[in-house]
């Protein structure tokens, strides 16, 4: 962890009450700032909130919103629910995989993009759906997928 990271972490601890009840809020802040939960950050969180490290790790591994491995600045979620699957989500995913050189769940080495596959986002009418960060893209033609991602 660099000095800058330590300062950012101290900022997060400063913004939250220093008590065990702040655990999830602190983890969410770390996830937002670092795009994942670095190992040292979890140890520091345990010390700062006086929560056993095992409990911090337990919470960090329980919620799918937290990641223990670095994730990209841009999270691309490709829906592979029934409707999206029928409307060609696989082709879309293929384009992204070959374009970015990573598989679902992986992150590009420059930490720019992470691809995730989700099961349904409740927007089946506009299948196939791809979500880049918080923006929903519907009826995505597979040849446009990569361009939409790069524009983000």
């Amino acid at each position: 962890m660099t000095q800058q990271d330590v300062t950012r972490l101290q900022g997060i601890f400063g913004r939250n009450p220093r008590e065990p009840g702040s655990l999830i809020a602190v983890l969410q802040d770390i996830q937002r700032e670092f795009h994942y939960l670095p190992r040292e950050a979890l140890s520091e969180t345990a010390k700062a909130l006086e929560v056993p490290l095992s409990k911090v790790y337990s919470a960090a591994t329980f919620y799918s919103a937290f990641s223990l491995t670095p994730r990209g600045e841009n999270i691309i979620r490709v829906c592979k629910g029934t409707a999206c699957h029928i409307k060609g989500a696989d082709l879309l995913l293929d384009q992204l995989e070959s374009g970015l050189g990573i598989k679902p769940g992986e992150t590009t080495p420059d930490l720019k993009y992470t691809i995730e596959v989700v099961n349904c986002v409740g927007a089946c009418a506009m299948a196939p759906v791809m979500i880049v960060n918080a923006k929903y893209h519907g009826n995505v033609p597979c040849n446009r997928a990569l361009r939409l991602v790069k524009k983000a």
Binding site: R39, S54, T61
Partner: protein
């Protein structure tokens, strides 16, 4: 003091007591895996299920985990009705699919007439029943070195990051409380290994026998105010020393008497 009926017999119990301890105190055997005196009950294994009803419930009844159910005046408890036995059989059947190699569960299941699970055996399963007895005892001891990791069917008990647990003191409480005996540990020469972490064992000053891990002793010295000397000699040697002293006293007393 409250009065409850267990299998037709009226029994006195103390308010706030859990049903399971009252039932067991009166010599009625019901199975339980996750229950232990040292830790708070959580009702994880579901085996201690019994049937309860009350006079005014008009024949209505329900099934509860007895380890978690506090006694109350007028409660009517049945521990071995056909329904209860059926529930226990189902649980044991499922547990047998989960841990086919566990002798404890095999034995319990056999007592209920199940010799082979009717479900599909969990592939690559260990014998862990996820009862959390180990994590709870670790918490009671004030260490919380291990915890549940992950979620859903992938959940397992492990130290943080799957590495040597920094808060572990090698006390073996987790391994000893485990009802299905799944936590591996070894004592070899002067070294204890548990959760992949190595601990130096203290040797008795008198006989050289290994006693407890140094970290465990240090923890007890600090937290429970036990003098360091206490851990230098093993229990056996302490007893021999005591016996020797007692012998001397008796001999002296006899001398005086003569």
């Amino acid at each position: 003091m409250v009065h409850i009926t267990i299998n037709g017999k009226v029994i006195k119990a103390t308010e706030g007591e859990m049903l399971l301890s009252v039932i067991r105190r009166h010599g009625i055997e019901i199975p339980a895996l996750c229950h232990h005196e040292a830790i708070e009950p959580t009702g994880n294994c579901r085996l201690c299920m019994v049937e309860i009803t009350r006079e005014e419930w008009d024949g209505w009844k329900k099934h509860v985990t007895s380890c978690l159910y506090p006694v109350e005046e007028g409660l009517i408890v049945s521990t071995h009705t056909p329904d209860v036995i059926e529930i226990r059989k189902t649980i044991l059947d499922l547990q047998l699919a989960n841990c086919p190699d566990s002798e404890v569960i095999q034995k319990m299941a056999e007592e209920y007439g199940i010799y082979k699970t009717s479900y599909e055996v969990v592939p690559e399963g260990d014998n862990c029943i996820m009862c959390y007895a180990c994590t709870r005892i670790c918490e009671v001891l004030g260490r919380s070195a291990i915890s549940a990791v992950g979620r859903g069917h992938r959940k397992e008990i492990a130290p943080p990051f799957g590495a040597e647990p920094p808060d572990c003191i090698g006390c073996l409480a987790c391994a000893q409380i485990c009802p299905t005996d799944v936590i591996p540990w070894t004592d070899r020469d002067n070294t204890r290994t548990i959760w992949d972490r190595k601990f130096e064992l203290i040797s008795c000053k008198e006989c050289g026998r290994q006693t407890i891990a140094r970290e465990f002793a240090d923890y007890l010295i600090e937290k429970r105010n036990i003098p360091r000397e206490y851990f230098e000699i093993c229990d056996n040697c302490k007893r021999s020393e005591l016996a020797r002293k007692m012998g001397e006293i008796v001999a002296r007393a006899q001398e005086v008497a003569i």
